[in-house]
């Protein structure tokens, strides 16, 4: 039987009915219609489905949608402010920190969560912050450079 799920996604309130077995990633993609969040393994091993839930990064394939009841979820679509990309998005562009782009939304969410929690991470902490995300294309180092550039204040948050 479907149950009510009330939550906010990227600031927008949703009140929908979902089957209890549905995963957060499925609801975000199929019901809310935000396909930026990807699914690479369905076993919380690859990180492509990473989103922020109440400010913490979670793998949305390992969270039941109903567990998100009453929470605020941020997906990759929620990073830009209007037509202004977030500092991390800009840094990813400049540093070529993506190739095929399939892991990129998850990578951005893990990095955003990291900087929310710790705005001045060391290089080792950045590596730890994205260790749950697999990127088969870039070899990670361009991503680490992009995050480092944001940490150094090279990119300003849009007003």
């Amino acid at each position: 039987m479907k149950k009510e799920l009330k939550f906010k996604v990227n600031g927008q309130p949703y009140d929908i009915f979902v089957e209890p077995k549905k995963l957060l990633v499925e609801v975000l993609r199929d019901l809310v219609g935000l396909t930026g969040t990807k699914r690479g393994c369905n076993s919380s091993s690859c990180g492509a489905c990473t989103v922020m839930l109440n400010g913490m990064s979670v793998k949305s394939c390992s969270v039941l949608a109903l567990q998100a009841n009453g929470t605020e979820v941020v997906t990759v679509e929620g990073l830009a402010k209007g037509n202004q990309l977030s500092p991390l998005q800009k840094a990813f562009l400049d540093h070529g920190a993506y190739q095929c782009g399939f892991c990129t939304p998850g990578m951005l969410m893990s990095s955003t969560a990291l900087l929310t929690e710790n705005p001045k991470p060391t290089k080792q902490q950045i590596k730890e912050g994205i260790d749950g995300n697999i990127c088969r294309c870039t070899g990670y180092n361009s991503i680490i450079r992009a995050v480092t550039a944001v940490v150094k204040g090279e990119y300003k948050e849009a007003k």
Binding site: L34, G36, Q99, C103, T104, N141
Partner: protein
């Protein structure tokens, strides 16, 4: 740096903003009205006859719209070596027999994935298990079970390459080494698994969206399998979540979705699960390598003899090419005066082995570079010196095989030597291993039997001066859309943002063989450059008439400025010329066409890139565990079109090639892959990733667009060998089979200790 305005500059990928905002649409994201979801039932047996399939219970499940088996297909067999019908051996949906765990036997379309999944459990398949064989060394025995009818000793294909007089040359050698190696398998692990949305209309035409490296191949293979006319099939490819060699043959998602859709005239979407991705798609070819290498005392290599037996898996796939290329690249990057290769690809009841980034060359480079270090050690010669002594040079002909024009191998060796010297005396248990490599810029061979040019492009200039570039090339993340747009903009004299690229859509783009064999930059780049030049010539004809220049060749366009070459300040706006030219042509947009097929370039490729890599490891002798500390690569790929792209290829290749040497493996039990998940299949993650330094070497390739050549796959070749050599330098043990795991290192260390003790006891 040259005075190019676009190429060689650091730019954002043309599709970058879509990727960092999550707005880019992948096949995984495609949803069509009235769409159904498909799932595939796969064989649990490595080898079995299909006696009966009962689908009636599954068909009765509410929400199921169709169930198909091999009987619903035409029974055609696909193969990418289309010129050789005997090598087209894969039905995809098996009719009478399954040959590996994962072979498809039925497919379901239902209103959602859960229902389709449930229906799979209701399909009853009666199998008669047959004796199976998993190791190619067993499969070639007389009494081994036969996997394909009429294929003796299960030998799928053999290749022979030879030049010089190898036997005579070995007689003249001062030192000969014979070594055996084993190269493991590797999974591509594309982040987007294989997927497809196939949609047949009531007009009998097929439209498909799929994650693929070659829309044209998929279109043509669909036509073969469905007995359709190619132009009645439109294949779309926008964003593809990785390919690495796994996505240019027709796969089960694509084929089953089409068969189901054909039955229902509704769109059907199939996305392979990660487990299917590991077990039922293709993988890197495991190889047994037998090497004999002969040299003079001074390190001059006189002869090499190579024998290879590869684990083919159940079907041919691209394995035939991997078999050939591993043989050819076993001679790389050295000038062997005498060389002989014999390779055998053997069918086994295991998942199909095929193309993967590097295409046989990561295997040949690991074994070759390991053995060369041992040879250098035997002769007391420095590893870099032995490579320098024998390394290829510009304008070298590989006898009867290939002609190498540009080659920066020696500059790369110099740079790496400097790097190693600069590191000075290393801390204990550290070692630096060196490995040299080369690779092709696209293949010349036409086993696909295409009547088309290998690459083609169309450029159209609109009234506002904006440029539309149409090409069949597929961007799978390697950035070809950006590189090709840059080539187009540079040639035409406009800015990168003036170019809009349409790629990989067979409905509107001219055919291109696709993104494999590191071919897009050189081959498609040449086609794009020629198409852009065709447009430019038309514009300059108008400009010449208007400006009164002597001849049209006195004019050029740069940064949207049409000008006299000798007096650049004299000119007119590109936009004005476009407007006038289109009006003058009675309103017809300016269009240019360009094609490229290599001619008279030997048997392999029109150009080759080269490099040398140094890997530094730190080994813990107590546990055998080691850390990849740094990987430094001196690399040349001709003129650099897209520097950000090349850096990405270099660093990314180290993750994949380092993984091949360091941790990636697919252990099997009776044909069953034991680690079909990302949790169990170990990849290099950010914490294991070494520092990666890049030393770019300038070269210019006369055959390439603006002098450019390959920069994609070659970089996958050196790392496993460099790691093996580094481990040896660090703790003195040599690992002969991949991956080089801590267990193997520890075992070898213990064995070494035992030998040392024994020697001491005997008083040696």
């Amino acid at each position: 740096m040259s005075n190019y305005s676009v190429i060689g500059h650091r730019v954002h990928n043309v599709d970058g903003t879509e990727k960092v905002t999550g707005s880019g649409k992948y096949t995984f994201d495609v949803v069509l009205p009235n769409m159904l979801y498909g799932k595939i039932l796969r064989s649990p047996y490595p080898h079995a006859k299909i006696l009966k399939i009962n689908t009636s219970k599954a068909k009765r499940l509410v929400g199921v719209k169709a169930v198909v088996t091999g009987k619903d297909t035409l029974g055609h067999k696909q193969g990418i070596w289309r010129r050789f019908p005997e090598l087209c051996d894969e039905e995809i949906l098996c009719r009478a027999k399954v040959r590996y765990i994962g072979d498809a036997v039925a497919a379901v379309a239902a209103i959602d994935e859960d229902t389709a999944e449930e229906a799979l459990d209701l399909i009853e398949v009666e199998y008669e298990p047959l004796p199976a064989v998993f190791d190619p060394m067993d499969a070639i025995k007389e009494d081994a079970p036969q996997i394909h009818e009429g294929v003796e000793l299960n030998i799928n294909i053999n290749r022979h390459i030879e030049w010089g007089d190898v036997d005579e040359a070995f007689e003249k050698c001062d030192h000969i080494r014979e070594d055996k190696f084993k190269c493991s398998s590797q999974a591509h692990v594309c982040m987007e698994t294989h997927d497809a949305v196939a949609s047949f209309g009531h007009n009998g035409k097929l439209e498909a969206w799929t994650s693929s490296q070659s829309s044209y191949y998929i279109q043509r293979l669909y036509a073969d399998m469905l007995d359709m006319s190619e132009s009645d099939i439109r294949v779309h490819n926008r964003h593809t979540g990785g390919g690495f060699g796994s996505k240019f043959e027709l796969d089960s998602a694509q084929f089953c979705a089409a068969i189901l859709s054909q039955k229902l005239c509704r769109p059907v979407k199939i996305v392979l699960s990660r487990e299917e991705e590991f077990t039922a798609t293709k993988r890197r070819t495991p190889m047994y390598y037998f090497l004999k290498l002969g040299a003079k005392k001074d390190g001059t290599l006189l002869a090499k003899e190579v024998r290879v037996i590869t684990e083919g898996g159940a079907y041919t796939a691209m394995g035939a090419t991997a078999l050939y290329l591993t043989g050819f690249f076993s001679s790389f990057p050295y000038k062997y005066p005498n060389y002989r290769y014999d390779g055998y690809r053997v069918y086994t009841n295991t998942a199909i082995t095929s193309a993967m980034r590097g295409f046989g060359a990561p295997q040949s480079t690991f074994v070759g570079e390991s053995q060369l270090d041992m040879m250098a050690d035997d002769l007391g010669i420095d590893p870099i010196e032995i490579r320098r002594k024998n390394g290829m040079t510009p304008n070298y002909e590989v006898p009867g095989q290939a002609f190498i024009q540009s080659c920066g191998l020696h500059q790369c060796l110099d740079k790496i030597e400097e790097h190693v010297k600069k590191r000075g005396k290393l801390p204990p248990n550290h070692g630096i291993g060196v490995s040299a490599y080369g690779f092709m810029s696209g293949g010349i061979f036409n086993w696909f039997n295409t009547p088309y040019a290998f690459s083609a492009a169309v450029v159209r200039i609109n009234i506002d001066g904006k440029v539309d570039l149409y090409t069949g090339a597929c961007d799978i993340g390697q950035g070809s859309n950006t590189t090709l747009s840059m080539i187009c903009a540079e040639e035409l004299g406009v800015k990168l943002e003036d170019v809009r690229i349409f790629s990989g859509d067979t409905g509107i783009c001219p055919p291109d063989l696709g993104a494999w064999g590191s071919r897009e930059t050189l081959m498609n780049g040449n086609a794009v450059k020629r198409a852009a030049a065709d447009c430019k010539r038309q514009l300059l004809e108008f400009a010449a008439a208007k400006m009164g220049a002597n001849i049209v060749y006195d004019l050029d366009i740069k940064d949207r400025w049409v000008h006299l070459v000798d007096r650049p300040e004299r000119g007119v706006s590109y936009f004005d010329i476009v407007k006038e030219a289109i009006r003058g042509k009675d309103g017809v947009a300016i269009m240019g066409r360009g094609h490229y097929t290599p001619h008279r370039k030997g048997m392999i490729s029109p150009a080759y890139s080269f490099g040398v890599q140094a890997a530094e490891v730190e080994v813990d002798p107590e546990t055998g565990r080691y850390k990849l500390v740094n990987v430094t690569t001196a690399h040349e790929s001709g003129t650099v079109i897209n520097p950000v792209g090349i850096e990405g290829q270099l660093e990314g290749a180290i993750m994949m090639a380092g993984g091949y040497g360091f941790c990636e493996d697919q252990p099997m039990d009776e044909g069953k892959i034991l680690n079909p998940s990302i949790a169990d299949y170990k990849l290099i993650r950010s914490l294991d990733m070494p520092e990666t330094d890049i030393l770019e070497i300038d070269t210019y390739e006369p055959e390439g667009p603006f002098g450019a050549k390959e920069a994609g796959e070659g970089l996958t070749n050196p790392t496993a060998g460099a790691i093996g050599n580094a481990v040896y330098k660090a703790v003195g043990v040599r690992i002969y089979d991949l991956p080089i795991t801590p267990e193997k290192v520890l075992k070898a260390l213990k064995e070494k200790e035992k030998q040392t003790k024994k020697a001491k006891k005997q008083g040696v």
